[in-house]
């Protein structure tokens, strides 16, 4: 740079940074649109009448007609599939937390031989295509009479959810200082009382979040649900198996029925998403 140019230089830099700022904001907006627009388009279709769904060309605005949704709800098997989805997801949530939270607590509070072996077992489950396990489990369930039951499917979904439940609860319990528990012990509580009165109230929101996450995993799972259920199909299994026979408006209404609850779930657990993936890196 020469002395002559030095006069303009600050202005040039400001312009460059303004341009950079513009590119940054435009890029951010573009990425948000990339995520949001497809969801919006699905909702447009779900909120249009069957005739509008198959009509052409589309305006991109919803018709605010509940014909498709009414058809979907009234369609034979849908109400039952919805109920099964909720039932399986709730069972998965209960199993995953009931089994995973004690393990998470043990990992965060104790040092003991075999700890790393257990962690390896948990991490290993994430390096395998778990839904495929539904194939041999289907055979196993027929032998013990669990085939085509919500409980059976929930058990398989629990396998998917347990690694997350263990890792999330581990990070949540690790966030509670052990001194709090120790203080309760010195004040005359035993371990169970200290846990119930001191730790539990503090970890409850985090436990709830990981429960919701377990619910979402089950709610969204397709392959195992389709393999393991015949009469008691979940919503995903129902939609998958009727894909090639169902009309478009049924698919889109069904898709919306899958998406809208999931949006709420993710909103509810958004704070905890990073806690669990942060810990998963170690």
């Amino acid at each position: 740079m020469t002395d002559v140019a030095s006069n303009d230089q600050p202005q040039a830099v400001a312009e460059v940074s303004r341009a950079g700022r513009f590119v940054f904001v435009a890029g951010t907006v573009l990425m948000c649109a990339w995520v949001l627009v497809p969801i919006y388009l699905l909702l447009v279709n779900a909120l249009s009448s069957p005739a509008q769904v198959t009509g052409f060309p589309k305006t991109g605005l919803p018709g605010f007609d509940f014909g498709s949704l009414q058809f979907f709800i009234g369609f034979s098997g849908v109400a039952k599939a919805l109920w099964n989805s909720v039932l399986v997801a709730v069972l998965t949530m209960v199993f995953a937390i009931g089994i995973g939270a004690p393990a998470g607590y043990a990992l965060s509070r104790f040092d003991f031989p075999g700890k790393s072996a257990f962690r390896l077992l948990v991490l290993m489950t994430r390096a395998f295509p778990l839904p495929l396990l539904a194939l041999p489990i289907a055979v196993m369930f027929i032998q013990v009479g669990l085939d085509d039951t919500p409980i059976g499917l929930a058990l398989v979904h629990t396998t998917l959810a347990i690694p997350f439940a263990v890792l999330i609860t581990f990070s949540i319990f690790s966030g509670i200082p052990v001194e709090l528990e120790e203080a309760a012990w010195t004040l005359g509580c035993n371990r169970a009382q200290a846990f119930q009165r001191v730790v539990l109230p503090l970890v409850l929101p985090g436990i709830a979040a990981s429960a919701i996450f377990a619910f979402t995993i089950s709610w969204n799972e397709v392959f195992a649900a389709s393999v393991l259920t015949v009469q008691n199909r979940t919503l995903t299994a129902f939609l998958l198996q009727s894909l090639n026979v169902s009309p478009l408006h049924l698919k889109f209404a069904g898709g919306a029925a899958l998406v809208v609850p999931a949006l709420l779930f993710i909103f509810a657990v958004r704070k905890y998403l990073f806690a669990m993936w942060g810990i998963a890196n170690r």
Binding site: M31, F56, A106, L130, P131, L132, L263, F274
Partner: protein, 281 residues
């Protein structure tokens, strides 16, 4: 109750559960694939490989993963960098970016079906802009490659979020001092990204790539929603053999193929992106 036994007692349910529903089925799946009831056989694998659909199925799956995963990595790095630089509205943007994380692959397939089907939004746009005269049948068997592109888009759309979340939490662990030092030495933003962020992010990259690649080999519902069985993939064929051809043994053989390529990919990532001992933050 002795204190020493407590941790084992707490781990017992989870361990038992994983033994019964994780390790045991793995043994079972191998038994299904390698035996005909009494003795060892490779018959099921021969049936699988001999079927005319197998080569296409196998290479479709590999090719999908090979295209989807790198795109997702680049996009997730961009999104994570944006999130890290944001000061205002960080939480909102972060929530928007993570939305697809909570959606099922089936829902993602249906969402992109709304765009690509013949009376869908892409055709509406193309016709209204006058680019084409009448709507095109994108998802027919005549042009499998369009189905392929639609699947790639849907997969990138749905599953980039998980990579981004892992990378954001990894970036949060990189000490600010490294960036300050790089700035003092005059490193440009791009150089800082190349010389500080990427190397420090190695453990997160490893986790993200392993998870995503395995999930990419499992692609199923997206493909079914967009192309039915026109574009065969490994999990789709597993399902097909289990249900339509009623041969659980061949289905198990397919499952073992998916398992094998998943483990192979995991080992490659562990080796290529290995973190030197003592080099963690």
């Amino acid at each position: 109750m002795p204190q020493r036994a407590l941790p084992y007692l707490l781990l017992l349910p989870a361990t038992l559960f994983l033994l019964v529903f994780f390790l045991y089925p793995f043994v079972q799946i191998a038994v299904l694939a390698f035996s005909d009831g009494q003795s060892f056989t490779l018959e099921h694998f021969q049936t699988m490989v001999g079927h005319w659909k197998f080569p296409a199925t196998f290479w479709n799956t590999i090719l999908l993963a090979a295209i989807v995963v790198p795109i997702q990595l680049v996009m997730a790095l961009a999104m994570a960098s944006v999130v890290m630089r944001l000061k205002t509205g960080r939480n909102t943007i972060l929530y928007i970016f993570t939305i697809p994380l909570g959606l099922s692959d089936l829902a993602a397939g249906i969402i992109w079906l709304a765009i690509f089907e013949q009376s869908g939004f892409l055709n509406s746009l193309l016709v209204s802009l006058g680019i084409v005269g009448k709507p095109i049948l994108f998802l027919g068997y005549q042009n499998i490659w369009v189905i392929f592109i639609a699947v790639v888009l849907a997969e990138v759309w749905r599953a980039t979020a998980i990579v981004m979340v892992i990378l954001v939490s990894g970036m949060g662990l990189i000490p600010k001092e490294y960036y300050e030092a790089a700035e003092v030495f005059g490193a440009s933003p791009w150089q800082r990204f190349r010389k500080v962020t990427l190397p420090m992010l190695r453990p997160s990259l490893q986790t993200a790539l392993i998870l995503r690649t395995i999930a990419a080999f499992e692609v199923f519902a997206v493909v079914v929603a967009l192309g039915g069985t026109t574009l065969p993939v490994l999990v789709g064929e597993t399902y097909n053999w289990q249900f339509n051809l009623r041969d659980p043994n061949v289905a198990a053989a397919y499952a073992l193929v998916i398992l094998a390529i998943s483990i192979a990919a995991t080992l490659v990532y562990l080796r290529v992106l290995r973190v030197p001992k003592g080099a963690t933050i």
